[in-house]
């Protein structure tokens, strides 16, 4: 995979993770906020997801789906960190262990 495609993969994953955080920020029922505020968080999330989607389409032309898809599964660890940082979600040992095993599995799938 050359650097350009790697960058495309980074943009695709980064905007996808940001999109998830925006979605949760807008949808979470423990936070009080006006309807338009929720809509703008979700809207921003959709924009981030759309960017991610177009980068993904470009990648699909070049690679087999079962080869590039696993890269996206490294996301759980980044999503967990982003959720802890920006949404103040609590992480516990079991959760982090499970996520690490998932990422290890993905790493194996990615290099084979």
């Amino acid at each position: 995979m050359n650097p350009l495609y790697f960058l495309l993969l980074l943009v695709s994953n980064g905007s996808s993770i940001a999109g998830q955080v925006f979605f949760k920020r807008g949808m979470g029922d423990t936070v009080q906020m006006a309807g338009w505020q929720r809509a703008s968080w979700v809207g921003t999330g959709i924009a981030a997801k759309a960017l991610s989607f177009f980068c993904w389409i470009l990648l699909l032309y070049r690679f087999e789906l079962s080869y590039i898809y696993p890269f996206e599964a490294l996301d759980p660890i980044f999503v967990a960190l982003a959720a802890a940082l920006f949404l103040r979600e609590k992480l516990n040992f079991r959760l982090l262990l499970g996520i690490s095993i998932i990422c290890a599995g993905i790493a194996i799938v990615s290099i084979t």
Binding site: Q20, V21, F23, K24, M27, G28, D29, V42, I46, K49, F53, F54, I57, L58, L60, Y61, E64, L65, S66, Y69, P70, E72, A73, D75, P76, V79, A80, A83, A84, L87, E89, K90, L91, R94, L95, L97, G98, I99, S100, I101, I102, C103, A104, G105, I106, A107, I108, V109, S110, T112
Partner: protein
């Protein structure tokens, strides 16, 4: 916090009344979202295969029916996902959604004829184990309801 009244089929929501129809269980909606997303990936891969256009954003693939099916599946998956996020923490929801990583390679193997090596099967197994590890305490919470 724990509601013990009726042990009906819906079970499993800590912060909503158990009277809601089973279909609105947020964990079920994560499952719906995962399946539709996996289907969308496969449809889109089929859709991109229908064109030789290599230009940016690949406009000509929009003439493919499979591409549109993929897009529709993605939109419905998003609605289910947003609904689930109302009550499930993002970390948990996203980890459960990692099951997409198992379903997509399996789908590619079954429907697109892509090859899966023995080592890759091992990776798929690890992902499954990790998800079970995270999901097990959730299942216990559901049983208690």
């Amino acid at each position: 916090m724990l509601v013990t009244s009726d042990r009906d089929t819906s079970a499993g929501r800590l912060d909503h009344p158990p009277k809601r129809a089973w279909f609105f269980n947020p964990y079920l909606q994560i499952g719906v979202s995962v399946l539709l997303n996996a289907a969308a990936q496969i449809f889109i891969k089929i859709g991109t295969g229908h064109t030789t256009d290599q230009s940016l954003f690949s406009i000509s693939s929009l003439t493919s029916g499979a591409m549109w099916l993929g897009i529709v599946a993605m939109v419905v998956a998003l609605v289910s996902w947003l609904y689930a996020l109302k009550s499930i923490p993002l970390t948990i929801a996203f980890t459960l959604a990692a099951s997409t990583q198992v379903i997509v390679p399996l789908g590619c193997w079954i429907f697109l004829g892509e090859q899966i090596s023995l080592l890759r099967w091992g990776g798929i197994l690890l992902v499954t184990l990790g998800i079970l590890l995270v999901a097990q305490p959730l299942a216990k919470v559901e049983e208690r309801l």
